[in-house]
């Protein structure tokens, strides 16, 4: 589903080159639920933005659903984002001037879908996240958890092949975070491929597979001393 090979991302200024990703390799199979972890500044979000075709990369290869994306133009990238990828952002990223229904409708309109099908998909996805009664509410009238559910409904409405979640519970309290996580697990159980970037080891532990990023590279967890610290602390707590 998602395969990056020797991928690099370099930010260049006149005096310095900064590698956000270097010789980055990852292979996410269809139907997998992968959690991507790593310390701040390690390149998690850069990986996600490249995976979601929100940003281009400097070198290497990236195949998404069998398509080599490096040579695609902006329109083709937009089309893939619209049809194959569902985004769930930490800050929800709902459009504040549109109500819940209209927010979910945004990507469907860009797909040129007929109104009746749009409506059906929107209501189905709202049912799926338990917010069918809030279709006419504006984002500001919803709690953080509800807003994130709307964002998930927006991502699901387009039936994407891949769900990319960037700290989906980062702005939520524990109870709301648990609800959102359970929703993602349900979606995964129904067959979706999910790649989730998170700081939270507990959330990461609920994913099928963990990928750890350090300094722009995927590393074996055993190589990261901070992983041992976290696990040692967790072990102390259990003891």
């Amino acid at each position: 589903m998602l395969k990056m090979t020797h991928l690099s991302k370099v930010y260049r200024t006149e005096v310095v080159e900064t590698y956000a990703l270097r010789d980055f390799n990852i292979d996410v199979k269809e139907g997998e639920f992968v959690a991507v972890t790593g310390p701040s500044g390690s390149g998690k979000t850069t990986f996600l933005t490249i995976a979601g075709l929100l940003e281009t990369f400097s070198g290497g290869e990236y195949h998404l659903d069998g398509i080599e994306v490096s040579n695609l133009n902006d329109n083709a990238r937009s089309k893939i984002r619209n049809e194959k990828i569902g985004f769930i952002f930490q800050a929800f990223n709902l459009i504040p001037d549109l109500n819940v229904f209209d927010n979910i409708e945004v990507p469907l309109r860009y797909r040129g879908m007929k109104a009746a099908e749009r409506k059906q998909r929107i209501m189905d996805s709202l049912e799926r996240v338990g917010l069918a009664s809030r279709a006419k509410h504006y984002p500001a009238e919803l709690s953080g958890g509800q807003q994130q559910r709307v964002a998930i409904a927006r991502a699901l409405a387009g039936s994407p092949r891949l769900l990319l979640a960037d700290e989906p519970t980062g702005n939520l309290d524990t109870q709301m975070a648990r609800g959102v996580m359970e929703l993602l697990e349900d979606i995964h159980r129904e067959g979706a491929t999910i790649v989730m970037v998170t700081h939270d080891p507990e959330l990461a532990a609920r994913a099928q597979r963990n990928v750890h990023i350090i300094d722009g590279q995927v590393v074996e967890l055993s190589e990261d001393p901070r992983f041992h610290t976290v696990h040692a602390a967790a072990g102390d707590a259990h003891a």
Binding site: T45, L48, T49, G52, L53, L54, E55, D74, N75, S78, K79, R81, N82, E83, F87, F89, A91, N93, I95, P96, D97, L98, N99, D102, E105, V106, P107, R109, Y110, R111, R154, G158, D166
Partner: protein, 410 residues
């Protein structure tokens, strides 16, 4: 493009949206009326005179000492002017087309008529149609036997002595059609006073009146065969080839001075100058209105640019989200262009109603004609185009917002 979500967004920004709509409405209303006023002025400035404009010169002289025989003086002046190399024709005249100063007569078709039919201007002087270059469409020109000395005619008018009054008259075909619609005007009698009946012997193609302020009555013109004697401000019209005007004017002035070195030249000008001076207020008004329109359109365009730029900056994050959700750059460009089109359309609709109201006010208080309907679509298209051009810059900036903005915290 999807209009409903855009309207939904605009409903959440009512104040700024309405400010722009009102600005567009005011501009539309004022521009429609101003363009109409400019059109009126241009139409007036383009008014045909019926004379050979580029071939005419006017000289006015004032004799410091009254000549013993004013008619002989005019005859002498005209004779010396005819001798000037390049002169094609010379006329004495009481007035010139577009000359502002006008001699008018109240015209009756029946001597017993209490209220006159209309007021027309009265040219008199010798050799006028030929010198002016106005074309005779039927009948004949005035002949020397038709002419009466103006002083004699004035005395005869007081005594009611018809024998010493002119008996014939030339009129324009516009005046003829107004007085006797669909009829041959030749032979009809016009009464300039109850005792002064003049038979129409010739019809002129066109000859504008000096005070042509009302375009609908600008061709209400007559030529009466009255011979002029030298007076305090005797006017001569000289016809020559356009390229000869400068040297003919100099030579004509010298010739007139030779007749009487004491005389003062009060006016020396080409007919082009006469026309230019007559319409200078119209030109100034049209120029001012063009300035007002330009200023209004620029202010409106800047308003659109300002608001669109503000909205682009304010919505940068949501533009990024839209891009992340699959919007192409074209989708974003279309969004802002459609939004502007909707605002402009509402503004134009209000502006048209306002334009109609302003026109009603101008009709009531300034006797302006009704604003023709064609100005509404023209104004609408102009404002739509300006709106689209004004929003293009901010919309292109919006379209350039990369999708990755969606992932960055503001």
């Amino acid at each position: 493009m999807d209009i409903l979500p855009i309207l939904s967004t605009l409903r959440r920004h009512k104040l700024t949206a309405w400010l722009l709509i009102l600005e567009i409405a005011l501009t539309c209303a004022i521009v429609c009326n101003a363009v109409f006023l400019i059109g009126q002025r241009l139409e007036r400035m383009d008014m045909p005179s019926g004379v050979a404009e580029h071939e005419l010169l006017q000289i006015q002289v004032a004799d410091m000492v009254a000549p013993a025989n004013p008619y002989a003086r005019v005859a002498e002046d005209m004779a010396v002017l005819r001798q000037v190399p390049g002169v094609i024709s010379v006329a004495s005249s009481n007035q010139v087309p577009f000359g502002s100063s006008s001699s008018n007569s109240n015209i009756r078709l029946d001597p017993a008529q209490v209220r006159w039919t209309l007021s027309a201007t009265t040219y008199f002087g010798e050799n006028l149609p030929k010198t002016l270059g106005t074309r005779l469409v039927s009948g004949r020109d005035l002949e020397s036997s038709d002419f009466v000395d103006v002083d004699v005619a004035m005395k005869a008018l007081g005594t009611g002595d018809a024998k010493h009054l002119p008996s014939v008259i030339l009129i324009t075909q516009t005046l003829a059609e107004r007085l006797w619609p669909g009829q041959n005007p030749l032979g009809h009698i016009i009464y300039l006073a109850p005792t002064v009946g003049l038979r129409v012997v010739g019809v002129l193609d066109s000859l504008v009146r000096p005070n042509a302020y009302d375009i609908s009555k600008a061709q209400y013109t007559t030529i009466v065969p009255l011979r002029m004697g030298a007076n305090k401000d005797q006017s001569y019209l000289i016809r020559c080839r356009p390229e000869d005007r400068a040297h003919v004017l100099d030579a004509a002035l010298a010739a007139l001075k030779k007749v009487d070195p004491q005389r003062v030249v009060t006016t020396r000008r080409s007919f082009d100058e006469v026309r230019r001076k007559f319409f200078q207020d119209d030109r100034a008004m049209a120029g001012m209105l063009v300035g007002v329109i330009a200023a209004l359109l620029i202010v409106t365009a800047l308003g659109i640019v300002g608001l669109a730029s503000f909205w682009v900056a304010q919505r940068r994050r949501t533009i990024g989200v839209r891009r992340a959700l699959g919007a192409t750059r074209r989708n974003i460009l279309n969004y802002f262009q459609t939004e502007n089109f909707l605002l402009a359309t509402i503004g134009i609709a209000l502006g048209m109603a306002l334009a109609y109201a302003i026109n009603l006010f101008l009709m009531l208080h300034y006797e302006l004609p009704r604003l023709p309907a064609i100005y509404f679509p023209v104004g609408a298209i102009a404002l739509w185009l300006i709106g689209q051009l004004a929003v293009l810059g901010p919309a292109l900036r919006a379209a350039a917002v990369p999708p990755v903005v969606a992932t960055r915290s503001v």
